[in-house]
């Protein structure tokens, strides 16, 4: 598959490398990001995601390779048109949330009204509070608001929900979905599969500085992990399962059936009189894709 083959690319990454002495943090990555898409960069800690994204953001220089934005080298205007939410950022101390937004808004030519951003990112209640007095979730929403301040065409979100509780994470996802619905291009790095599956329509999986898979989430799952797993209690499992369309193995007090045709197997189990209330079905996820491709878990 050609990693750079995207219709109407906003960003083109061509053979990017970043070496730190012997470490190849990014090792010859080429890809393109389509205009208006939400592109997810997945990988475990240390895969090179943040290094790659910071090279694209023009925060660090690559050892080699080229980045094109709208088909040309990034000019000064690039900073006016992109919004960035870094993985770890401290904010100016002793400023309130509203003052922080005002300060940053003065750094751009074309900005969103601050009241809109406060509303969009649910910061109404904390707008008068000092930055260091707000919670982790509120801080992430403030950082997202800062990234959206300049009406960016391209938004980079580096691990936006890391460290947040499930509720705060879902709140952040809702905001990102709103941003996505406005037609902006989003580049998201994460090691949460659920986040990538819910938000991204194009994914690249990175490991050891390389992109090892690329495509839409469901397509990746279809290509690499086609089999779902049905788990049946051992005491309900039919005595003669020979006709079941799948691979069968025993796991403790349950029998697992791995199959590409879930519907057919479910039909067969019903016809054999198995009580489906005790049957679990696990469909493959991006985690399974990653596990299959690298032999490691995404969070390792």
């Amino acid at each position: 598959m050609n990693m750079t083959d995207t219709v109407d690319p906003l960003i083109e990454v061509i053979d990017i490398q970043k070496h730190y002495q012997r470490l190849r943090a990014v090792d010859g990555v080429s890809l393109s990001i389509g205009r208006g898409s939400c592109f997810g960069l997945l990988g475990p800690n240390g895969a090179g995601k943040t290094t790659l994204i910071e090279i694209i953001e023009d925060i660090i220089d690559p050892t080699g390779g080229t980045i094109l934005y709208k088909g040309a080298s990034r000019a000064a205007q690039f900073r006016q048109e992109v919004g960035i939410m870094f993985q770890q950022t401290a904010l100016l101390s002793f400023l309130t949330v509203a003052e922080t937004l005002q300060t940053f808004s003065r750094l751009y030519d074309n900005t969103e009204p601050i009241s809109h951003l406060i509303q969009l990112c649910h910061l109404e209640e904390v707008k008068g509070q000092l930055n260091d007095k707000i919670s982790g979730g509120q801080k992430q929403r403030l950082l997202l608001a800062l990234a959206l301040l300049n009406r960016p065409e391209l938004v980079f979100l580096d691990e936006p929900s890391t460290g947040l509780d499930p509720q705060a994470r879902r709140n952040l996802w809702d905001i990102i979905k709103t941003v996505k619905s406005q037609g902006r291009t989003i580049v998201l790095t994460t090691h949460y599969m659920e986040e990538a599956e819910k938000l991204c329509d194009d994914i690249a999986i990175m490991d050891k500085g390389k992109v090892i898979a690329r495509g839409e989430p469901q397509a990746l799952i279809q290509i690499h992990c086609r089999r779902a797993t049905l788990s049946v209690p051992k005491d309900q499992f039919p005595e003669k399962p020979d006709t079941l369309q799948g691979f069968i193995n025993e796991r403790g007090d349950r029998i697992q059936i791995r199959t590409e045709n879930v519907n057919a197997v479910v039909g067969q189990l019903l016809s054999m009189g198995v009580d489906m209330r005790g049957v679990n079905v696990k469909t493959p996820t991006l985690e399974d894709v990653f596990l299959k491709l690298t032999g490691r878990s995404l969070r390792e």
Binding site: R79, F86, T89, E99, R106
Partner: protein
């Protein structure tokens, strides 16, 4: 360059300074306390420079009533303070550890005394004692003349030094250390992601710190002047211009330190390495007149030396702006060099 961006960072930095109440208070309180403390200590014309021990002085007896046997000019000399000991052993112990300069056995004739050969103060105290014992006719060989013209109190001489020192610490740490901390915790990286240029950022830091230094200077000056009544023989405006040149120069030096690095510990070491010699060699507390020539020449590499020289010329000697122009020129020349270095070395994230 966009002035709007520079102004945004300038304002943000000033807000941080004024809202950080602990640091804000300390910036005013520190020089104020130093000046006030020294004002109290040196309110008289003399200070006790030498300590002379007397023994045996019983525990409940006053040392003053036991020094009648000493020559009057020695016993009543304001530069000498007397300390009583019950035994010779106690006195010798203090003498050996340079806690006192001279030890005398009370009531002896001839006077028995002990002095440490390795103590310069002891040698002077011994000379004072011997001089006091000399025949009166020897004093006819000298005639005392009063100093003509301006008389400068020590506190008036010290005041510009303490203000300059405060300015130095505030400029170096307020820019050098703070910017390195911002680099370490990612604030600079966040700013780099915006259209803000390095020049705009550095200029905002420079202007903000100069503004804060001059603001602090005026407040501390007025507060100390109300309490201690400083004598300024020159023009206050000239003095302001001298301090403005000094604050600009030292803030620029802070920018050089701030230009690189993410380790606060290392930066702290560099700041100490620069600020401590500057404090001692730039004549904040004492003059280095009479020190080796190479040491006096070395002191000229410090901006604080030139700032204090010019400030004292205006404040203590009543000199005009033209007289201190060489120092001001040197300060601005240093500023230019520091700014060029700082801008060339500056990195947002390294």
């Amino acid at each position: 360059m966009r002035f709007k961006r520079l102004w945004a960072i300038f304002n943000a930095r000033n807000r941080e300074f004024f809202r950080d109440r602990a640091a804000f208070g300390w910036n005013f309180l520190f020089p104020f306390l130093i000046i006030l403390g020294f004002g109290v200590i040196f309110k008289g014309d003399y200070q006790s420079q030498f300590k002379v021990g007397l023994f045996p002085i019983p525990h409940d007896a006053s040392v003053n009533s036991s020094k009648d046997f000493l020559p009057d000019s020695f016993a009543t000399f304001k530069a000498i303070s007397f300390v009583g000991f019950e035994t010779r052993v106690q006195g010798m112990d203090k003498l050996k550890h340079h806690k006192i300069d001279l030890l005398i056995e009370a009531g002896t004739q001839p006077i028995l005394y002990w002095v440490s050969d390795s103590s310069p103060s002891g040698a002077i105290a011994e000379r004072l004692l011997k001089g006091a014992l000399a025949p009166p006719e020897t004093s006819n060989r000298f005639e005392k003349k009063d100093i003509q013209g301006l008389q400068v109190r020590y506190i008036d001489w010290l005041f510009p030094g303490v203000l300059g020192m405060n300015m130095m610490f505030s400029a170096l740490y307020g820019v050098g250390w703070v910017v390195v901390r911002y680099r370490k915790n990612g604030v600079l990286k966040r700013l780099k992601a915006t259209p803000l240029t390095a020049f705009e950022y550095l200029a905002a830091q420079l202007l903000s710190r100069i503004f804060l230094l001059m603001f602090t200077l005026v407040i501390v000056w007025v507060g100390c002047d109300l309490l201690l009544g400083f004598r300024v023989y020159g023009s206050l405006l000239n003095l302001f211009l001298v301090f403005l040149a000094g604050s600009t120069c030292m803030t620029s030096l802070g920018l050089v330190i701030a230009s690189r690095g993410t380790s606060e510990e290392f930066t702290n070491g560099v700041l100490n390495f620069i600020s401590w010699p500057m404090m001692f060699l730039s004549e904040v507390w004492f003059s280095i007149e009479g020190a080796p020539a190479w040491l006096q020449a070395s002191a000229k590499i410090f901006p604080l030396t030139h700032l204090l020289k010019a400030a004292r010329q205006v404040m203590n000697e009543g000199q005009g702006l033209w007289a201190v122009m060489p120092e001001i020129t040197i300060l601005y020349a240093m500023t230019l060099v520091f700014l060029l270095f700082g801008a060339a070395l500056f990195s947002w994230n390294k």
